[in-house]
Structures are given as structure tokens and as C-alpha cells.
């Protein structure tokens, strides 16, 4: 299916000539995971002090779970963490997102103004909410007897909309349906929003809830290794212009130097991911030799896990990174939350390891559909101060235990 004219496309820029891009400052981070609230709990779990996977003996909302381990966020007192107002109709996806935001806002050493935006990663929204709503149209008589107050939960930008309402974020409000790529895509999208001066800073997050529908989906699709757990969680990073953060005295936990993405033809995931990682390093002005840490994302995804490892090994010329972080071993498979959790786990690991400012990490991502991506992240001097906030939500959570 071709037409007559051939365009004069620009020469593909050689990787060496790809200009570097202004880094983003990462000035706060939060996570809600099966390990508990905060980066500290996540870091401890990464060190092997985390909870065991729950055996799938249970059920969710009366639906039996498949014979596969799961990892759920421990029972949270959402009313205590978020206040009772407006909570009743919110689904678990949105609640987890709101808790992660609360923690991030508490941890942020400044005030979020109106010129703050938010970007969220998702796979297909809350699959539980949309499929339960749809099922109601099969079981109800007449079929339209659905609850209108729950309708917004079926739309994929529900969490982002509720986050904006709760924190009065009037800036860009984007939801990116990238699944495992959503973390890289969200950071890339945030970088553009800051560069275009649309907003001063963004809450960049990812969220996924554990549901019977999701567990069975994973189990039936064969997308996970046999004993891999299905998990849930949310993480939020605050990203902003570096110069402004420094000028206003906010310590940087890390700098995001590059956020590159691409798309692989069938059977070309490894070379495509390797090419994107290489480009991300070049655009960071760094060489592969400077990478100390890799925060993997595809752990326990059948086929994709090995593709990710091979692509990284190819870029690093078979050198083992000093540190490898595999957040999925702690949180289970978290789909669109994975990218944000990879970043949160990286920070938690660096802090526990006492990583020096200047250390460089890769945060790769790849999807069975062909999307590939990679962040390049550099540790900053504020990392040693990345304690979880001791006030507000965190202490409320402590009390609720």
C-alpha cells in the first residue's frame, strides 16, 4: 500500500549528535506497596526483610483467586489517611493513588502551587471497576440500573482527576495508558510539560490494584512465570525544573537525565531496547561504563524478563552492574505501577546502600506489544535525606496499624 511520492526525510541523527536535554529534578518520592507505606518499608523488603507473598487461598469480592501467589498492600485505614469526605464512591485504584500522593506531598519540601500538574500511568484503568460496571448491565433488570456515582471509576483518568481535586492541581492532568511503559512515558511527558513551561512541577505516578479480574487475567494469559505473584501498589515522584529547585533550596534526591522510548518490530525487542538504552545514555552525556545500578521492570514476565536482562547486558558489554534492583520480587507484578515503583525502589535501594551522589542508574521498560523505553537517573546529594515523612499520613498509618 504505497503511493507515488517519496518524501525527503531528514537523515536519522547519529546517536552521537542527539542533543542532551535539560535534566529534571526529583525532589520527593512516595510508595504504597505490599511492604507497607513509604520508601523505608520498600527498601527493607528489597533487602529481604519484606513480607512473604500471600498464598492465594482467598477471594476478593466473592470471586475466588487463581492458584497463584498474590501480594496485597496491607489493610489501610483510608478514612484516617484520606479523610472520610468523598471517599465512599472511590475504588481501590484511586484510593491507592491518593494515599501515595498524600505521602509525596507530605515529603515535598515546599508547597505545591496551582501551577502543578499530574501525570499517571495506567494499563486499562481499574479493570475491576469497569468490568463490574459492565457486568451489572448483564445482571440488572432492567440492564441500565447501574449506579451513576460509580460511573467515573470506569474511566481511565479517574485517579488523576481525583488527585487533582484533592490537591487542587490545576495544571496538566494526563493519564497515560502504557502498562509497563507508563513510568518512562510519564516522566517523558512530564519533562515536556516542564520544558514547555506549562507547569512548574508534577506529581508523576503509577497505580495498579489487586483484583480477582486482574489476577485471573494474568493467570489465564500466561504472561507471568508460573510462581510469580500478582501484586498491587502505587508510587509518586515529584519532578520539577532543576534550576528552580536549587534556587529555592529544595534538596534533589536524584536527577532524571533522559527518558527515551521506541517501538520494536516483532522479534526485535532486545536490539530495540538496547538501542533505546544506548540513546538514553548518549543523551545524558554518559557512557555505559558509568552505570552502577539497574532497576529492572520486567522481572518474572515470561520472555520479557530475559529480553530486558539481555538488552542491558548488551549495552553494558557483559559487565554486571554493582547493584541490581528487582522491585517486582517484592511487590509482585504491578503492571502500570511498575515504572514508578522501579524509581521508588531505586531511591530506596540507593539510600540503604549509601550510594554516592553522581551514581548512575538505568530504569528500562518493555512491553509485549513492542514498546521499549529507558530512564537514566543520577543520585543527588539529597538522597541521604530521603526519609519518609514523619508527620501526617505516615504517622497516621502507624497509628492505624
Amino acid at each position: 500500500m504505497t503511493t507515488a511520492t517519496t518524501p525527503e526525510t531528514r537523515e536519522r541523527p547519529l546517536d552521537g549528535t542527539v542533543p542532551t536535554v535539560a535534566p529534571l529534578a526529583l525532589t520527593a518520592a512516595a510508595a504504597v506497596t505490599p511492604a507497607g507505606l513509604g520508601l523505608g518499608a520498600l527498601g527493607a523488603a528489597l533487602d529481604g526483610n519484606g513480607p512473604e507473598a500471600n498464598r492465594a487461598t482467598g477471594e476478593i469480592d466473592g470471586e475466588a483467586l487463581p492458584p497463584r501467589p498474590t501480594r496485597a498492600v496491607p489493610d489501610l485505614d483510608f478514612a484516617e489517611l484520606l479523610g472520610r469526605k468523598g471517599l465512599r464512591n472511590l475504588d481501590r485504584t484511586t484510593r491507592l493513588a491518593l494515599v501515595a500522593c498524600r505521602l509525596a506531598v507530605d515529603a515535598y519540601p515546599g508547597r505545591l502551587g496551582h501551577d502543578t500538574g499530574t501525570v499517571w500511568g495506567t494499563t486499562a484503568g481499574s479493570v475491576r471497576s469497569s468490568s463490574e460496571y459492565s457486568r451489572r448491565t448483564l445482571t440488572a433488570d432492567p440492564p441500565y440500573l447501574v449506579n451513576p456515582s460509580l460511573f467515573p471509576n470506569t474511566v481511565m483518568n479517574c485517579a488523576a482527576g481525583q488527585v487533582a481535586i484533592r490537591h487542587q492541581l490545576h495544571g496538566v492532568n494526563a493519564t497515560l495508558a502504557g502498562g509497563p511503559l507508563a513510568g518512562v512515558q510519564a516522566v517523558r511527558y512530564a519533562r515536556n510539560a516542564v520544558r514547555q513551561v506549562q507547569v512548574e512541577r508534577l506529581l508523576v505516578g503509577g497505580v495498579e490494584e489487586l483484583s480477582a479480574q486482574g489476577c485471573w487475567g494474568w493467570h489465564r494469559s500466561g504472561g507471568l512465570r508460573p510462581h510469580a505473584a500478582v501484586g498491587e501498589g502505587a508510587a509518586v515522584l515529584v519532578l520539577e525544573q532543576e534550576e528552580r529547585a536549587r534556587r529555592e533550596g529544595r534538596p534533589l534526591l536524584a536527577r532524571v537525565l533522559a527518558a527515551e522510548v521506541g517501538f520494536a518490530a516483532r522479534g526485535r525487542l532486545v536490539p530495540s531496547l538496547a538501542a533505546v538504552v544506548t540513546r538514553a545514555l548518549r543523551r545524558s552525556g554518559l557512557s555505559a561504563a558509568e552505570v552502577t545500578t539497574v532497576s529492572f521492570g520486567a522481572t518474572q514476565r515470561r520472555g520479557l524478563d530475559r529480553a530486558e536482562e539481555r538488552a542491558v547486558r548488551r549495552v553494558l558489554a557483559d559487565r554486571e552492574p554493582e547493584r541490581a534492583v528487582r522491585v517486582n520480587t517484592v511487590v509482585g507484578e504491578c503492571s502500570a505501577a511498575t515504572g514508578a515503583l522501579q524509581l521508588a525502589a531505586l531511591l530506596a535501594d540507593w539510600r540503604r546502600a549509601g550510594a554516592a551522589a553522581g551514581e548512575v542508574a538505568l530504569v528500562p521498560a518493555l512491553s509485549a506489544d513492542g514498546s521499549v523505553g529507558c530512564l537514566v537517573v543520577q543520585a543527588s546529594e539529597g538522597l541521604s535525606q530521603v526519609g519518609d515523612p514523619q508527620t501526617g499520613a505516615a504517622s497516621a498509618a502507624e497509628r492505624s496499624r
Binding site: T9, P143, Y144, F151, H170, Q196, Q213, R220, G223
Partner: protein, 407 residues
């Protein structure tokens, strides 16, 4: 041109899969005639629903349009997006191979992603329990498949991003694609959106009191709501100067855009926030309100939307706003694709010289105030130079794009 943008950006190819026709030309003929193309629902059993009309795509056979996307393994929204994108590339006079060699990708908007796949899975759950879910349906569910389908069909190796900011998602996609091309991050980007008619949204909008019985009448005193609809739309963006040098037909120049959030309510729009989004879009495009010759409204046809939208327009434009019409009167509310179809209509309006009409309009709602010109009936011959395209959404997500006649 926006503050940090670099190169000017042209729209040189258009594609559409809609109830109003397949391809941008068929779509535009329907729009110019002011012909409604909504019809009784066939996609699901709607007999027990009081309101049974929708803007479904009936005459679309995916295999006529797609070389690489297998309709057995990809959802309906993905098929719509990939087909519309292929049409846009052909419309732009680009050779497949040349595009695949360039730095090219796609940004696609959606509200409910692969909702037809969701409902297939729900049918399986309902009849055989969750343990009976078929792997093929599960694999087709992620909404990110929509942009992935475009890249797969056209063999693109650049970014494939699906933006899920509900009913303003296509304008979000167009704005982001514009930034990427302007900044030199890509040689070509396809921007647009796709959604499929589904039972649950039909029920949800009905229960919100937002669903019209048979006819969508934006701005009319008797308007009663939306008609749910589906389709796929794609616009091909490239650097303006290169479009000129390759002798491409340039429909429009992307002048700028803005996005913001009401942060007020999940389903009720907010006047001052929409007005702020318009002003920011004007600043970004470096135009003044006086330069806007036409507004392609979000214009859903619900009493609330149209009143809020016109009130916001008055805040920005004063008592004599430019003509403002709604193509949803003809094709229904295509959700995540809606502002993409609006952008396509704007491109054709700029290039061919007309204003898209509002169909089904008997009497403009006097409560909207004097001076509202919804271009009733059929298209009006005109020479608009700068037009404004609205997209608003659940979640308070506003997105407005500004397009200009090539000069």
C-alpha cells in the same frame, strides 16, 4: 508558536473511521451536508434500554484497510486507530517505506480503550466464571494497544503512546505530538484517537441523565444529551518547512494548544477553568480572541455542557463570540476520538473554506444568551484563518488546540 517550541508544524494527512464515512473526504462530505449518521445500536442488545441510538460504525471491514493488524487478535479501537492512521499516511502522499525509515510514531487518545474487549471478557466471566477468560481477549485489553496498533501497522519505531484523559484525549494527543515535532524529537507523528461503543457507557450516561433518546441537538432549546459513538481518527504532523519542500498538501498549521484541569468535580464542567484554558491556548498560539474565526465546540448536547461552554466562551470573547458549532450533532460523542474528529473538521474547514454546521437545530436555546451562532443546518461557505478546537472531559480535563490556515 509556543514558548519553547522550535519548528512550525503542519498537518498534511487526515484519516477517519466513523459513522459519517470512511476516510476524511467521505467524513467531510457528510459534515458539510449536516447529515446525522447516528442509528439504532447494533453492537449490543439494547432492546431493554429506553434510549437505543448511537453513532456506530457499520460499514467498516478491517481487512480492507489493514495489512498487519489482525482483527482476531487486536481490539476494535486499535483497528479503528490503525486504519485511520493508514488513511492519513496515504492522504499525505507518503510512501510506507519512507515513513517507516523516518523517526515516526503515534500518540492516540481514548476514553475507554478496548471497551469492546472488556465487554467480551465480562461476557466470559458472566457465563463461565473468571477462570474461563480467554487469553486472546486478555492480551487485547490494555489500552496502550491502540497506539501500538498504529506503530505495528505502519512499522514505525518511534514513540507509541496512548493518552487516556477521557473525552479530551485526542486534543491532548495532538498537543503532545505537536511539541515532539516542533522540538525535533520526531520527523512525523500521527495524532488522533479511538473508542468503541459499549454497553456500560451507554448505561452510565443514561443513568447520569445525559443520554439523548434519538437525536443529539447541541445548543438547541430542546437538547437532552449525548449519543454515545465510536470511531478512529488520525492526523499526520510534520515540520512545516519540510512539508513545503516536499510539495505536500498542507491542511493546517498547528499554532498552539493548552491543557488544564478544573480540579473541582469529576463530571461537571467548570466555566472559569475552561475560559482559562482558552486564554492559555491563545497565548501559546500567539493569537488574540479577535483572530479566532470559528470554534469547533465540545458541544456534547447536554444542557450543562453547552451552557457552561458558551458561558466560558463569553468570558473570553465577550458578547459577540465567533461562530461555534458541534459536529457531535451528526456523529454523536466519539469519546476519546471526539476532539480528534473536531480537529479533522477544522483542518478541512481551513483548507476547503467552510464552517462545519450544527445539525438538528430548530431553535437556539435563548438561555445561552444573544449572539450565539451555531451555524445551523448545513455548512457555511467562509474563509476561516484561525480556528479553535475544544475538548473537555470527565476529571475536569480541558484541552484546546488552535489551528491556522497555511500561509
Amino acid at each position: 508558536m509556543s514558548a519553547a517550541a522550535g519548528e512550525r508544524v503542519a498537518i498534511t494527512g487526515l484519516g477517519a473511521v466513523s459513522s459519517a464515512g470512511l476516510g476524511a473526504d467521505a467524513f467531510t462530505r457528510t459534515i458539510r451536508e449536516g447529515r446525522s449518521t447516528t442509528s439504532p445500536v447494533r453492537g449490543f442488545d439494547a432492546r431493554a434500554f429506553p434510549h437505543r441510538y448511537a453513532g456506530e460504525v457499520h460499514d467498516y471491514r478491517p481487512r480492507d484497510w489493514l495489512d498487519r493488524i489482525n482483527p482476531d487478535t487486536w481490539g476494535r479501537s486499535s483497528q479503528f486507530a490503525a486504519s485511520a492512521s493508514r488513511m492519513a499516511v496515504q492522504d499525505a502522499g507518503l510512501a510506507d517505506d519512507a515513513l517507516a525509515r523516518a523517526r515516526a510514531g503515534s500518540i492516540m487518545g481514548t476514553t475507554s480503550g478496548e471497551s469492546a474487549v472488556t465487554e467480551r471478557l465480562v461476557d466470559e466471566w458472566h457465563s463461565g466464571g473468571l477462570e474461563s477468560l480467554t487469553p486472546r481477549s486478555v492480551d487485547a485489553l490494555p489500552a496502550g494497544r491502540i497506539a501500538a496498533a498504529v506503530n505495528t501497522e505502519l512499522r514505525l519505531d518511534g514513540e507509541a503512546l496512548t493518552i487516556a484523559t477521557a473525552c479530551s484525549a485526542s486534543n491532548y494527543a495532538l498537543g503532545y505530538a505537536y511539541d515532539l515535532v516542533a522540538a525535533g524529537e520526531a520527523d512525523y507523528m500521527l495524532a488522533g484517537g479511538a473508542d468503541s461503543v459499549n454497553r456500560w457507557a451507554h448505561a452510565g450516561f443514561y443513568r447520569l441523565g445525559a443520554l439523548a433518546e434519538e437525536v443529539c441537538r447541541p445548543f438547541d432549546v430542546d437538547r437532552t444529551g449525548i449519543l454515545t459513538a465510536e470511531g478512529g481518527v488520525a492526523l499526520l504532523l510534520e515540520p512545516y518547512e519540510r512539508a513545503v519542500s516536499r510539495g505536500a498538501r498542507i491542511y493546517a498549521e498547528v499554532l498552539g494548544y493548552s491543557v488544564n484541569c478544573d480540579a473541582e468535580h469529576m463530571v461537571h464542567p467548570e466555566t472559569s477553568s475552561i475560559a482559562a484554558c482558552m486564554r492559555a491556548a491563545h497565548r501559546n498560539a500567539q493569537v488574540t480572541p479577535e483572530q479566532i474565526d470559528y470554534i469547533c465546540a465540545h458541544g456534547t448536547g447536554t444542557p450543562t455542557n453547552d451552557a457552561t461552554e458558551v458561558a466560558a466562551v463569553r468570558q473570553v470573547f465577550g458578547s459577540q463570540p465567533p461562530p461555534i458549532s458541534s459536529i457531535k450533532s451528526m456523529i454523536g460523542h466519539t469519546m476519546g476520538a471526539a476532539s480528534g474528529f473536531g480537529a479533522l473538521a477544522c483542518c478541512k474547514a481551513l483548507y476547503e473554506g467552510f464552517l462545519p454546521p450544527t445539525a438538528n437545530l430548530a431553535q437556539v436555546d435563548p438561555a445561552l444568551g444573544p449572539g450565539v451562532d451555531p451555524v445551523p443546518g448545513r455548512a457555511r461557505e467562509a474563509k476561516p484563518r484561525v480556528v479553535e478546537n475544544h475538548g473537555f472531559a470527565f476529571g475536569g480535563n480541558n484541552a484546546i488546540t488552535i489551528l491556522g490556515r497555511p500561509a
